[in-house]
Symmetry: C2
Subunit: 201 residues, 2 copies
DNA sequence: GCGCTTGTTATACAATCGTTCAACAAGAAG
DNA sequence: CTTCTTGTTGAACGATTGTATAACAAGCGC
């Protein structure tokens, strides 16, 4: 009875949705590692351990993969704002966690920001999703205003809070040494306390 | 008397310093137009109307040109902060001018930010110059505190002001529609009034 | 077990990338 | 005018870019 020469399959077939997620993850890893210049068909497919043809097959073009990555990132951000159960405090903690695990996320955002204005598909996605993000923040700030019995200009407060967060993210993504996560959270709370008054009890 | 067939010179010799400035300007134009992906030897030299060999000749490598552009940009920023005569008000007005002329500057910054962490020469320059920028801002804020007879935490105030400005720049460089220059200036003033108290007279 | 769909691979392709280098010539020095 | 320095050009290099495409085979339905 001779052993069956069962050759190891040369690849594994995966459902398109799962394969897209795999490629999105690989693309994000490349963006985090070397910015937009490392967002390359070769590098992404090497990261995903997959042949070069797959990106075109599943996304049509490289830019569409980048747009899909943006959708994933902004979706996670919006979820973390909309789905918070502990109010603005939980949101801030989620935005500036301790430890180095956020580094990758920030590096991806930095790379995406730089390409939004240069990639039409990305700009379109940004304008659509950014409105949702801003609305979610305004909603959370409105609840905080109710808690502290103040009625500030929610519109301006949202601009200031979002911009402050973006700026802190920017500083920390470029060089985490300059501003610690704790400093960032403290800056957020300082702004909110100034805008909405101190906690009531 | 036959006319001398004076052939038009095929190029013009320029002093190295002037040529470097020309290439820096061309490189900035490329960054503004298409981000870091358009920062290419071919495109830069085409923009400068110069042959491909010049960048290597004057800068050694492309990255060094990028670092030189960073130095130019941060130098202008620091000068506008240090050299202001009308206090923080003049600084804010300079940071968020009306009209579209700032667009190019912000696009260049966005492209540079994305590469700082990936280009050692850039990170080194950033760390050195960022400290100067922060010191200049702290100095201007200290003067404002004296004017308004308050003594807040200048360190934290500087972090908040710089991050807010960075965030507003980021939003406006990605998509100027979202936040107008006037909104940005108002947000800066709101933060300062909250931190340092309202103007005394 | 067999055929078929289709996810996957691997090659090919022209275009462009950053850099090197030899030849050229502009313009100051004599 | 002649000589020399050196800023400048332009071709060439191998490597890498994004995409198209044909051959392949994994694995489900029968």
């Amino acid at each position: 009875m001779m052993a069956t020469p069962k050759t190891k399959p040369r690849f594994r077939r995966v459902a398109p949705d799962q394969r897209r997620e795999l490629l999105i993850a690989a693309g994000m890893a490349c963006l985090a590692k070397g910015g937009i210049l490392d967002f390359t068909i070769d590098r992404i497919c090497a990261e995903a351990q997959v042949s070069r043809g797959l990106i075109t097959h599943h996304f049509g073009a490289k830019d569409n993969l980048l747009a899909a990555i943006y959708e994933t990132m902004i979706g996670q951000l919006i979820s973390s704002v909309e789905g918070n159960v502990s109010g603005i405090g939980g949101i801030i903690d989620g935005m500036f966690p301790d430890g180095p695990e956020q580094r990758e996320t920030l590096r991806i955002w930095l790379a995406l920001w730089g390409e939004i204005a240069n990639t039409p598909a990305l700009l379109k996605a940004h304008r659509k999703q950014y409105a949702r993000y801003r609305a979610a923040v305004e909603n959370a700030l409105g609840e905080l205003a109710r808690q502290r019995k103040r009625q500030p200009d929610i519109n301006q407060a949202a601009i200031m809070f979002i911009s402050l967060v973006d700026g802190l993210w920017l500083e920390r993504s470029i060089d985490p040494r300059q501003i610690s996560a704790e400093d960032a959270r403290a800056a957020c709370w300082r702004l909110l306390d100034l805008l909405f008054g101190p906690p009531l009890s």
